[in-house]
Amino acid sequence: MIDLFFESLFSEVNFSILLVAACASMACALVGTFLVLRRLSLLGDAISHGVLPGLVIGFIVSGSRDLPPMLIGAAVAALLVTIASDWLRDHGMIDGNAAMGVVFTTLFALGIVLMESHARSVDLDPGCVLYGQIELAPLDMVSLPFLETRVPRSLLPIAVVLIIDLLVVLAVWKELKICSFDPALARSLGINVRLVHLLLMLLVSMTTVACFESVGSVLVVAMLVVPAATAQLLCNRLAPMVIVAMAAGCVIAVVGVLGADHLDTSVPGMMAAAGGGLFAFTVVLSPSHGLISRFYRRTRLSLRIASEDVLMEMWNAREKDGEESRVRGRWRIAAIWTLWLRGWLTSPRRSAQPTERGTRLARALEKRRQLWKRFLKRQLLTPEDHLYDPAHRIEHHLDSELSERISRELDQEEGDSSS
């Protein structure tokens, strides 16, 4: 049953499309991670649009749809985009973003004009540059010398580029890492930052060019940024980030291809949409940086503070009455229930008493509060009437280590002044 389901999902047609899509998005995700970390995300946008005239010229010169001349033309155009926008920013007194905007739109316009004016000899249309022709992948299969199965012809450049990307990134991993993190430090360590930058640009150009014949320039933009941004929300270190980004690329490819098949629409468009969905999902649900986890942590913290406050009030109430409660309304009810569930109160009622454990906790909290008050008073000469509030807030965050340090410092101080 399940086998059958998968079989229908990944028919041979779908499988070759999926293979191309997955390789393309993994290659983009790999180099995209470094672009995002170096705040160069928009370079992908610029390059993928700017390669158009290179493609067209390659086509016109060679007079055929053979890949190599078009790829060479496109790679030259891609490097031109990076070098020209860097030059305009550094030597033309033009804002970096605007410089990129000028360069790539100009090149794109040039490409379209070339395409239209050679319409009779050029069998290209702007649409295929924007969305690519991944749907045609299964129609043009080749067999590889050492493999049994036949693979789509358009997979070859993508696979080659993916392998090159992987090898280069592994080879210069250390340098890429330090240049992404702190270019100034890298320079002081004697690393040729400019060379590393150019190398990265070369990888990005190659990847863009190889991929967009299949998936189009739009998807290249999305795939350079989306998996990396998703990974950024999930990881704090570079190596996991690269791996997660590539995995996200795979997931996006699968969902995109299946979705496009299901809804009968364009594969690259669907992949970009899937990427958007995955990213939105991560923004909401990421365990460390997601909106929900942050909301949960904040609520839990507020609840803890509220219940500790209530506990201390109840404990203090034995000694003195009449002080107004700091925790009111729903928070108070929630706090009382929490305390009861944890076994720190005898019952979930307003009139409840702290249990044995609750009393112990309240004493510990009171000790911290006094410690902090003493610290503020001695160290900062804070007037007495200002003391209650900050002490009240900070005591919930003093862990035992910090409390010990404060108490040590205070003791030392008092020892100094008495001697």
């Binding site: 904040r298 610290f375 900062l380 000469l381 509030d389 965050h397 404060i406 410092e409």
Partner: protein, 267 residues
């Protein structure tokens, strides 16, 4: 009784749950020159921005001449931001920048006219840079940029001036010009509050100092407050505990966007 120029009561400012100022409490009488002194990251700029209403206040309040800060504070408050806060390659001339000081009085849609231009020119004169009026601002040196900002504040003609490090990175001549201007403002009964870094000159420049390091360490007339002991408290390492406590609060509240810079780090 006359209300003080600036009164700050129990002010706490938190940036993303990390408190950067705790329970600041002071008041400043009118017509005084006040220096705010403290180490880097002590929250001096944040305090100034809180008084101006540019950053949200977690608790406490600020009153300007006995009234809470309102949206329309142009006639009472003059502000000199840090020099690095703007793009000095922006396409405006020196006179344009100084004229911005009159925009608040002009209100919506009205354009600066001859009277405003002459007034702006006078303000430039007051800082000794009237010959620079038609210069593009990218052609200015650092000291000249600072003078332009001060001329703009002068053009605001406010009762109270708040200046964020006007002496940072300026040459001796500019420093003299600024001090002369400040004295002139005080002679006219204006209140001036200045964030200051150079401890050597504090006693010469200011009537009153606020020593700040996350908390208000001391506030009062310079002679009484600017003492070795207070400075040790302000700059001493003991406050690391306070900083760590603030960090603990921040971590507990989750640290999304932790790559964003601290507002006090200057931008």
């Amino acid at each position: 009784m006359k209300s003080p120029a600036i009164e700050v009561h129990d002010l706490t400012v938190a940036y993303r749950a990390k408190p950067v100022l705790w329970d600041i409490d002071f008041s400043i009488p009118e017509g005084e020159m006040v220096g705010i002194v403290g180490p880097n990251g002590a929250g001096k700029s944040t305090l100034m921005k809180a008084i101006l209403g540019l950053v949200p206040i977690s608790s406490g309040w600020v009153q300007i001449r006995g009234e809470p800060i309102s949206k329309d504070r142009s006639s009472t408050l003059g502000y000199v931001p840090q020099r690095e806060s703007v793009d000095w390659d922006f396409p405006v001339t020196v006179l344009d920048v100084v004229l911005m000081g009159t925009y608040g009085r002009l209100g919506w849609f009205r354009r600066p006219r001859k009277a405003e231009r002459e007034w702006a020119q006078d303000c430039l004169e007051g800082l000794g840079i009237s010959d620079l009026a038609s210069r593009q601002i990218s052609e200015l040196s650092g000291g000249q940029q600072q003078r332009v900002f001060l001329a703009r504040a002068l053009a605001q003609d406010s009762e109270i001036y708040l200046m964020d490090e006007p002496f940072a990175g300026v040459d001796a001549a500019t420093e003299e010009a600024i001090v002369a201007l400040l004295k002139k403002l005080r002679a006219r009964g204006r209140t001036v509050m200045v964030i200051h870094h150079d401890l050597q000159t504090v006693e010469n420049y200011f009537d009153r100092v606020l020593l700040i390091n996350l908390r208000l360490v001391a506030a009062g007339p310079t002679r009484e407050v600017f003492t070795r002991e207070n400075l040790l408290f302000t700059y001493g390492g003991r406050l690391t505990v306070l900083d760590e406590a603030a960090e603990a609060v921040r971590l507990a509240h989750g640290n999304a966007g932790n790559l964003k810079r601290h507002p006090d780090a200057g931008s």
